[in-house]
Symmetry: C2
C-alpha cells in the first residue's frame, strides 16, 4: 500500500499542531473520499495566505496590507498601546469590548530554553513604536504563564527606562467563579491586588 502521494499528504498533515499519525490518516482519507472540493479549497487557501499575509509594519500582526486595519483606524486611542503575544490574544481583547487603544503583537514570548530571546520577539521595534511621542501608556497583556510573566518583566524594564508609563493586566478571580473552586495562587494574587 505504499502510495507516495498519499504518504506525503499524511506526512504534511502531521505537521499541523495537534495532529498525530492517526488523525492525519483520517484527514487524508476523508479529503480524498468525501471532500475533494475541500482539499482543493485548502490547497488554494494555503497558497493565497502564504502569498498575501505579511506582518503589519506598525503592530506586527498578520495583515494583507502594509498597515493593518486596526492601526489605520483613526477612531482608536493612539495614546494606549497594548502588548500581546499573538493575534489570537488580540482577538480575545477585541471581543471583550473593553479596549479602544492600539496593539503591538510580539508574535511570541521569551523562552530561553527554546532559544527565543528578547530580540526575537521584536523588543527593539516595540520600544521604537512606543516612543513615537503619542503613546503615553503601554499595557502589558502577555499571558500569566511563567514565560509570559518573564516577557512582561523584561519588556516592562526596558520601556520604563525610557520614561514610559507601563501597566500590566490585573490578576484576580475570573468573572463568574466560585471562590471555592479558584486555585490558591489566583486567590493570593487577588488579595494582594485588592482595590
Amino acid at each position: 500500500m505504499a502510495e507516495a502521494s498519499l504518504d506525503e499528504l499524511i506526512e504534511a498533515l502531521r505537521r499541523l499542531p495537534g495532529v498525530g499519525q492517526k488523525s492525519a490518516q483520517r484527514m487524508a482519507y476523508h479529503l480524498l473520499q468525501n471532500d475533494r472540493a475541500g482539499a482543493g479549497r485548502l490547497a488554494l487557501a494555503l497558497q493565497q495566505a502564504l502569498a498575501r499575509m505579511q506582518h503589519c509594519e506598525r503592530c506586527h500582526t498578520f495583515t494583507e496590507h502594509r498597515i493593518c486595519a486596526t492601526c489605520q483606524d483613526a477612531a482608536r486611542d493612539a495614546r494606549q498601546l497594548c502588548v500581546v503575544e499573538a493575534p489570537a490574544d488580540q482577538a480575545a481583547l477585541e471581543r471583550s469590548g473593553g479596549y479602544r487603544g492600539l496593539y503591538f503583537v510580539l508574535m511570541g514570548r521569551l523562552s530561553p530554553l527554546d532559544g527565543v530571546g528578547i530580540d526575537d520577539i521584536g523588543a527593539r521595534q516595540l520600544i521604537e513604536r512606543a516612543c513615537d511621542g503619542v503613546v503615553s501608556e503601554v499595557i502589558l497583556a502577555t499571558g500569566f504563564s511563567a514565560e509570559g510573566e518573564a516577557t512582561a518583566h523584561a519588556l516592562g524594564e526596558a520601556l520604563r527606562s525610557r520614561g514610559l508609563k507601563v501597566t500590566r493586566l490585573a490578576r484576580g478571580v475570573p468573572a463568574g467563579s466560585e471562590l471555592e473552586y479558584v486555585d490558591l495562587s489566583t486567590i493570593a494574587h487577588a488579595l494582594v491586588d485588592r482595590r
Copy 2:
C-alpha cells in the same frame, strides 16, 4: 482584523475532520508564523494527491495506479477476498500479519439514515469481483458497529445467493484482556462462538 485570506484559510482548515474554530485558528497562525515551509508542502501535497490518487479498479482502495500493488501481488492468495470498510481497516489487517489473501474496500458502509444504500458502497462491483471464478471465500471484515453489522448482513446475503462461501471475522474477547473488564455483550458473543 478582517483579513480575507486568513479567514479563508481558517475556514478551509475547519472542514478537516475533528478540527473546530479554535484549532483551525491555531493551525493557521502556526503555519503563517512558524512553518511557512510546512504550509507550502501541505498545499502541494493536497494538489498532488488530488491529481494522482484514484480508486484501484479491482479492490477500490486508493492508489496512484490502475491496479494497486496488493492486487498485483502474485504472492497473495487470490482465493480469499476480504471485504473492509476503509483503507485504514485494510492497513490494520495487514499489520496483524494474519492474512495473505486479497481485499475489496467498500469505501463506506450501509447507513440508511445518511442515504447510503447498498449501491453506494459498490455492492455490484464486489459481487462481480467475487464471482471471477478464482475467489472461493469472501471474508466480511466490516466493523462490529450496528452499521458495520448491517453491511455485512446485506452483502453476505447477496454473496451467498451466488453460491459463494461467506465468513465473518470472529467476535470474542480481545487479546490481553481480563474477563472482568470485558463488556457483557462481548462475553456473550465469545460464549456463543466458543470453539
